[in-house]
């Protein structure tokens, strides 16, 4: 099915199941510990052996020698896989560095060996007996220095590296109010609960991997490519994922090494990435340096906007696209954005929840607060004054550099209208609910005992992406509808919204729907990433259900355009027939995909919100504790308000981590993230998370999909950290432009302790 015209009324609009706050259908499995996560699939293959990964001890260099003698002789050891004996290996399309290093080492804790043994303890013990000699090479580990030799990156997910509208330089120089500041955001880790984990088993030349992965088809492709085997010979199964946040978008070392280990051991092998390897072995959100320049009239109209961002990655890597939102968020006739990429020999950077916007909004939305103060304007009024209904800067994709490229020239729309944009309403609703008028605009003036109190605000913005997604639906003779798609549920609630969609489409109760996810034998979905999963995967289910409805109508002799599917019946013109009757003995199966035309080019599709935060900063110690948070979101139809709320409060919590504590500390001498465990890399704990509230504006977006929905899972993190930073400023009068805002950056500028 192709979606190239705005949606009109369709069965989803009945809203009998969709749009209702619905408990997760997989909830009982998870709360009783019976949801089978990858590492616990003891049932799927007999005689599983255990693998333990050895990570490189240097950031860059070569392995001179590796002595496996003692490890091989250790009790229980079955095999040891290294680059030397693993056979020819390619590299996945989506991997920057090789997943099995050696002899060249590309980054710290890059896997260089897998020890396979009868027990986990034996594998671990033997791994420590491997002796490796390295020849260290000099590397670049400091972004502030490498920045000076950065270059424009290839255009990728975040669009082209540069954009320009009007005359920024002229407009900035002549603006009566100017603002120019530089912000930094640190490297961050996904730090999800469930480490990357896989069990691999070979059957002849066919490989099956039970794993924890967000994007099944991507990873099947990269597994096949890396091993040099046909895609058809690889099966990935990932029904439950214990958190991903972008860290499990790709094939990673656990899956590849489990496959190699299983081949070497000639039996199934399971591998979980040790916690201590997570930060350096896998991907992370790269640090940024961002410069913001704003020029405005004295009334507060922005006339000039510039946002430049620098980040680093291994050779062949990609930038953190931190300027994306600045092209779209505020009006202003003269503007420029630029992204530059430096080569760093730190572990590879890649997507983490709301790549681009999450760190970009951390800088932009402090800058807006600072500019509002300069102008003497209320920060909300300043933002509303610069609201826009058309995209102010939508740079064209540069022509393909490949002369053989057969891709048709895409039509470019320089200023497409937003399909829906209710940013102002988000601010107004939030201001009212949060009690914005109680905020003292003069910083450092509100106090409760030891605590300096402050309120801050920031916009939330994240683009909405739509992705092709397929599903198969089966109707059986009991009226049960089974949906199969390789979509994943990474804790987001995919199982439930997919069940809701099928129930709505086929007119059956939720408990009559069975959802099976995360298996590469199922039709290829959009996967979970970029907050596209909810809308795009359900649209694929919608397409398949439309086909099934037609088939049912035809079988039962109904006019498919008129038949009503409700209560397990198909009805039209006084006739009512049980749905199950259409199934017959063998059931009725239909498969389809939703594909998209160019509505996402003609219209700018984005999601919007406003974050409100109240903080307390300890007057003596500078410790910041968040007191209250509110997010108001306008993000199309909310398919399941309960799981959508969970997504947003989770994202707000993660944004709090970014604001106050999360930072992978770089050892700039040796080139690695030092705090590589959950004791050193602090994320918020329960005691940090105060009262949180989420309001969804009632909205449908017919431009986005037949579901009229958009994403919320990443919107919730965008802007939170800046709102906290702005609240800290309001509390203390101290402006910190380097995240995270830890107390050492505040205390010198706090008033003396009485």
């Amino acid at each position: 099915m192709k979606f190239d015209m705005p949606a009109t009324t369709n069965p989803i609009d009945q809203l009998k199941v969709i749009g209702k706050a619905t408990e997760r259908i997989d909830g009982p499995l998870k709360t009783t510990g019976t949801a089978p996560y990858a590492y616990e699939r003891h049932d799927v293959a007999v005689n599983q052996a255990y693998g333990y990964i050895v990570g490189a001890a240097v950031a860059k260099g070569r392995i001179e020698s590796m002595d496996l003698t003692a490890a091989k002789a250790a009790p229980g050891v079955i095999a040891i896989v290294t680059a030397e004996n693993a056979g020819q290996l390619d590299k996945g399309n989506l991997n920057t560095a090789k997943l099995l290093g050696g002899p060249a080492v590309d980054h710290y804790h890059q896997a260089i060996a897998l020890v396979v043994a009868e027990t986990f303890e034996q594998a671990r013990s033997a791994a420590h007996l491997i002796h490796v000699d390295y020849e260290r090479a000099k590397g670049a580990f400091d972004l502030a220095i490498a920045k000076n030799s950065s270059t424009p990156p290839k255009p990728g997910f975040g669009g082209p590296p540069d954009s320009a509208v009007g005359d920024f330089v002229g407009a900035f120089e002549s603006a009566p109010f100017q603002f120019d500041a530089t912000y930094t955001t640190p490297d961050q880790s996904h730090a999800m609960m469930e480490p990357h984990a896989s069990i691999a088993a070979w059957n002849g030349d066919k490989l099956t991997v039970w794993t924890s992965n967000q994007m099944i088809a991507w990873s099947v492709g990269d597994m096949a490519k890396t091993l040099g085997i046909p895609k058809e010979n690889v099966r990935l199964i990932s029904p439950y994922v214990g958190g991903g946040f972008g860290g499990k978008l790709f094939l990673r070392a656990d899956a590849l090494l489990a496959a190699l280990g299983a081949r070497a051991a000639n039996r199934p092998v399971k591998v979980a990435l040790q916690r201590a390897l997570m930060m350096n072995n896998t991907t992370h959100r790269p640090a940024t340096i961002q410069r913001l320049r704003l020029g405005a009239t004295k009334e507060g109209k922005l006339t000039a906007i510039a946002h430049e961002s620098w980040s680093g990655d291994l050779p062949g890597g990609s930038p953190e696209t931190a300027v994306s939102q600045t092209r779209l968020l505020y009006a202003g006739a003269n503007r420029m954005t630029a992204m530059r990429l430096a080569v760093l020999d730190l572990p590879e950077g890649n997507a983490m929840r709301a790549p681009g916007e999450a760190p970009g909004m951390m800088a932009l939305e402090i800058a807006m607060d600072e500019m509002a103060e300069k102008l003497g304007l209320d920060p909300i009024e300043f933002r509303i004054l610069n609201d826009t209904q058309v995209a102010p800067d939508n740079p064209a994709k540069p022509p393909s550099s490949d002369p053989q490229s057969k891709a048709p020239e895409e039509k470019h729309y320089p200023h497409p209208p937003f399909s829906q944009r209710r940013l102002t309403e988000c601010f107004r609703t939030g201001a009212e609910r949060f009690g914005w008028n109680k905020r003292n605009p003069v910083p450092g003036k509100s106090r409760e005992g030891h605590w300096l109190m402050g309120i801050g605000v920031a916009a939330a913005f994240r683009n909405n992406l739509v992705m092709k997604s397929a599903a198969r639906v089966r109707l059986d003779n009991k009226g049960v509808v089974t949906v199969e798609t390789d979509m994943t549920d990474i804790g987001t609630g995919s199982y439930t919204i997919i069940a809701q969609t099928a129930a709505e489409m086929m007119g059956v109760a939720l408990h009559q729907v069975v959802v099976r996810l995360g298996d590469s034998d199922f039709p290829v979905s959009c996967g979970s990433g970029g907050q596209w999963g909810g809308n795009s995967s359900t649209s694929g289910v919608y397409a398949a259900c439309m086909k099934l409805r037609e088939a049912v109508a035809q079988k039962l002799g109904f006019d498919s355009t008129k038949a009503v599917f409700a209560d397990g019946q198909v009805r039209d013109g006084g006739r009512s027939t049980p749905l199950a009757q259409a199934a017959g003995e063998s059931g009725l199966v239909m498969e389809d995909a939703m594909e998209y035309g160019d509505l996402d080019k003609k219209y700018q599709q984005s999601t919007f919100g406003a974050h409100f935060v109240e903080v307390a900063v300890h007057a003596s110690t500078g410790e910041t504790r968040v007191r209250r948070m509110l997010a108001v979101c306008a993000a199309g139809r909310i398919l399941n308000p309960k799981s959508a709320r969970s997504q947003v409060i989770g994202a707000m919590t993660m944004g709090m981590g970014a604001a106050l504590m999360e930072e992978l500390t770089v050892d700039k001498r040796h080139g690695f993230f030092v705090n590589h465990d959950l004791a050193g890399y602090e994320v918020p704990v329960h005691a940090d998370v105060p009262h949180q509230e989420v309001i969804f504006l009632d909205e449908t977006d017919p431009i986005s999909s037949p579901m009229k929905a958009k994403g919320v899972g990443e919107l919730g993190i965008c802007g939170v950290a800046a709102a906290i930073a702005n609240a800290i400023y309001n509390a203390t009068g101290v402006r910190v432009r380097d995240y995270p805002i830890t107390l050492d950056k505040l205390i010198d500028r706090l008033p003396e302790v009485a």
Binding site: V58, D667, V674, V685, I747, V753
Partner: protein, 319 residues
């Protein structure tokens, strides 16, 4: 983890004697620190002596009016004990400021005193660390040193002792009681238990090989206002950047010990004479000779601010 043998000792003397028989032995109490370090190949004992069955989990009054705390008393039980809460509030508060409920249910008094540093280079066996591998160098000096010590450090090591409980015990003038493999017992003032790193940061206490801690005694209560102020980057479940244990008397005299700033709980009795003169003067004395790194110099200012706040709080309470 290196394979090891395991035994359950029955009496304190047995435990100490068993340790003498196995030069590579370690006592295991709650295991919350030792096991983590064994999994990471940082501690590699060949033999474990389980001391949980020694009958050392009692808290009793002493004849002198103080309290004797068995070495195996769990941190959670110690914090909740009525006499601790009434007479040694600083200890109770320090304990509940540490770790998490689950950990405090396992962690023991002796284990807490002997827990090892949280220096991230100590935890990464690829990195140099004089404490883990004498002579290999110190990764933290010149590297990531924000959480590290600012005083009592050496050119060999700048690690902190991470305990909260020990800081309160230091301000309470606790005494550590031990038994040796030869059956002899001794009493060690807590001030003398931990060593400064000097050239030998791997030697962390004055305990002899096989010496078992049997208990800790607290002297008669000294009254005053008991405060434990722990400062960290998140609200809970984090080690102290700086902590201050204080007992302040109505006349403004008192005692102060610091956590998070030194290789041992940091207290300078002579400096306490300056307490009535205010935080600035007192802190200057307390931290005289400090050698911070650029990354952790903020701790010096932080100490002064917390002490000021603690003194203000103590005064406020008397009004």
């Amino acid at each position: 983890m290196r394979p090891f043998t395991f035994e359950r000792a029955k009496t304190p003397a047995d435990a100490a004697a068993a340790a003498a028989r196995h030069p590579d032995a370690k006592f295991i109490a709650g295991g919350t620190n030792l096991l983590d370090l064994m999994k990471l190949q940082i501690e590699t004992p060949a033999h474990l002596i389980d001391v949980n069955g020694l009958g050392l989990e009692k808290i009793e009054a002493t004849q002198e009016g103080g309290l004797r705390i068995g070495a195996l008393v769990r941190n959670a039980d110690l914090a909740a004990h009525h006499r601790v809460r009434r007479d040694y509030g600083v200890l109770s508060r320090a304990l509940v400021a540490g770790a998490s409920g689950q950990l405090r249910n396992m962690a023991t008094t002796a284990g807490n005193l002997l827990q090892r540093t949280r220096c991230p280079y100590f935890y990464d066996t690829n990195q140099p660390c004089n404490k883990r591998l004498p002579g290999s160098g110190c990764g933290a000096i010149g590297g990531f040193s924000r959480p590290h010590a600012v005083i009592g450090v050496s050119d060999a090591c700048i690690a902190t002792h991470p305990s909260d409980m020990a800081v309160a015990m230091r301000v309470l003038d606790a005494t550590v009681e031990t038994i040796n493999p030869d059956g002899s017992a001794r009493k060690i003032p807590i001030a003398k238990l931990h060593c400064l790193p000097g050239d030998t940061p791997h030697i962390e206490t004055v305990l002899m090989p096989g010496e078992l801690i049997t208990g800790v005694t607290l002297p008669k209560p000294v009254g005053g206002k008991h405060i434990y102020h722990k400062v960290r980057d998140r609200s809970s479940f984090a080690f102290a950047l700086v902590s201050v244990a204080a007992i302040v008397q109505p006349d403004g005299t008192g005692r102060v010990a610091l956590g998070g700033v030194a290789p041992k709980p940091w207290r300078v009795e002579e400096a306490e004479a300056e307490l009535p003169r205010g935080a600035k003067v007192f802190t200057a004395r307390l931290l005289a000779g400090a050698r911070p790194t650029p990354e952790n110099a903020f701790k010096l200012r932080l100490v002064e601010r917390i002490v000021a706040s603690v003194l203000a709080e103590a005064k406020g309470a008397q009004v």
